[in-house]
């Protein structure tokens, strides 16, 4: 499906580096680009889409040459068969959900796919809303549906699930897996969340300072056991829906945000924690 060697200068917070990546991606693969920020994940994704121009190398998609430095070939993004989901969703604010999807279709194409996509992503009820009237998760689903409208062969996702809460994230991961199979896609996902990589990808490419550090099955990554589901007891309720809890596994304490679901949480209650519901904080004194 994709065969490329792309070179481009990176200007990351860690200082200048060169992105130099040589890879082949098979049709139907679900690839995660993983690594710390500044590793070049988003840059690589933008190079594949044609949103950023490489400095040297080549990029072939099947029989088509999208970029070749030596032959001076450059195919602009509008002529590549891709779907791109942006980190900020990039929905068109002047169009409703339905209009965003319809706009994505080529002029002559049958509009029948629009209701199909709305159903696939569970957006039927929101078809006539504007993006500003949607939640983050809903906007994300519109962005996914819109990226699929042209029936691309390649789906590129730039940290699409970074800004949504845990239940929405699970729901979206399901929608993504479903779309990947339903549309026979080759999917490349930028992520820095190992749990997400494990849940979705069948191949992970770890980048660091512009180079491939590891390439293989997601089991290469640290398994998210250390942050898997665990039990904890509430030690103290704090203002702003926060609570200090003691983990059953090792007795360490954590600061978590309680779900805002109206349940009367109290000290002494046993909770079940899932990875994205809490964040780690430094150890505290024994009074807690």
């Amino acid at each position: 499906m994709l065969d490329f060697h792309l070179i481009k200068a990176l200007h990351s917070a860690a200082g200048p580096a060169t992105l130099d990546v040589h890879l082949a991606i098979r049709p139907g693969e679900f690839v995660a680009l993983y690594g710390p920020s500044g590793a070049g994940k988003t840059t690589l994704l933008r190079l594949l889409a044609g949103l950023t121009r490489p400095e040297a190398g080549y990029l072939r998609a099947g029989e088509q040459v999208w970029y070749d430095d030596k032959r001076r070939v450059w195919l602009p993004p509008a002529h590549r068969s891709i779907g791109f989901v942006f980190q900020d969703y990039a929905l068109f604010p002047n169009m409703t959900v339905q209009q965003n999807l319809a706009f994505a279709l080529p002029r002559q194409q049958n509009q029948a796919i629009v209701p199909e996509l709305l159903t696939l992503t569970g957006l039927e009820a929101l078809a006539h809303r504007y993006p500003s009237q949607l939640s983050g998760g809903q906007q994300q689903r519109v962005a996914l549906a819109r990226a699929l409208a042209r029936r691309p062969r390649l789906l590129l996702l730039d940290e699409p699930l970074a800004a949504v809460d845990y239940p929405t994230r699970q729901h979206l991961q399901q929608a993504l897996r479903h779309a990947h199979h339903e549309f026979n896609l080759t999917t490349i996902l930028v992520s820095h969340d190992p749990a997400e990589v494990h849940a979705l990808a069948d191949r992970v490419i770890e980048l660091d300072l512009g180079r491939v550090r590891q390439d293989g099955p997601p089991t290469l990554l640290p398994t998210p056991t250390s942050i898997s589901i665990t039990q904890a007891t509430i030690v103290k309720i704090l203002p702003g829906n926060q609570a200090r809890v003691r983990l059953a596994s090792d007795g360490s304490t954590l600061l978590i945000t309680l779900p805002n679901d109206g349940y009367p949480y109290q000290p002494g209650q046993l909770l079940t924690l899932r990875p994205s519901a809490w964040e780690v904080c430094p150890p505290v004194d024994n009074k807690l």
Partner: protein, 224 residues
């Protein structure tokens, strides 16, 4: 009396034509300035902004010279294109276009630059041409900038004096716009006549400013 209405009609015709033409020219120029990486961009921005600081009479003076048959450009315009621009409506229209250019270009350029770059990029990944993207995505999402560009250009052209006087003079039905008619009336001590023009211009200015503040206050997704 007929002269009065003729002058007001001419003023409105000049302002309307200037605004319509600048809507096209200004949009293209603002789009280019907002997205180009060309090295001449700073120079282009300075040239667009020049009429803001240049005395109108200076602009008018050089246009007068340029249009006159004594210069190469003037000879070319007159003999090759058959265009006589000094002391004609077409001449003051061209003067107005240059003079009001920054009032259309600057708000629009700022409007384009305020939009998240991902909007145009998303349209590109959806296979849309630049023109389609401009027309369907960029312009609809900078409506407040577009509207303030239109209102400012129109108002500014109505109030124009120096440029028109230099290249147009004061020919009834051809180049005599309201602001020149006021000056002319005061010169010949027809204060009532000057007042009649002035009141209309004050009313128009108030109306346009009200319209502008109403339009920019209305909720919009990306307005600042």
């Amino acid at each position: 009396m007929q002269d009065y209405w003729q002058t007001l009609a001419l003023t409105l015709r000049l302002a309307t034509l200037t605004t319509l033409l600048l809507l096209g020219i200004g949009t293209a120029l603002a789009y280019w300035l907002a997205y180009t990486r060309s090295r001449i961009k700073p120079l282009a921005e300075v040239l667009v902004g020049l009429p803001l600081v240049l005395p109108p009479t200076v602009l008018g003076f050089y246009l007068l010279l340029a249009f006159s048959p004594d210069t190469g450009l003037g000879r070319f315009l007159q003999h090759t294109l058959g265009l006589r621009l000094n002391f004609t409506f077409t001449g003051i229209l061209i003067g107005s276009l240059l003079y009001s250019l920054p009032f259309m270009v600057q708000p629009l350029q700022a409007g384009f630059e305020r939009l998240p770059p991902s909007l145009a990029e998303a349209a590109a990944t959806l296979g849309k041409s630049r023109l389609t993207t401009l027309w369907r995505v960029l312009l609809p999402n900078c409506k407040p900038a577009l509207l303030s560009g239109i209102v400012l250009t129109f108002a500014h052209t109505i109030g124009e004096f120096g440029v028109v006087l230099m290249i147009g003079g004061n020919i009834a039905g051809q180049t005599r716009v309201a602001s020149i008619a006021i000056y002319d009336a005061v010169e010949s001590q027809h204060y009532a006549q000057a007042n009649a023009y002035s009141l209309v211009l004050v009313g128009l200015a108030l109306l346009l400013l009200l319209l502008l503040s109403w339009l920019t206050k209305r909720r919009s997704n990306y307005s600042a």
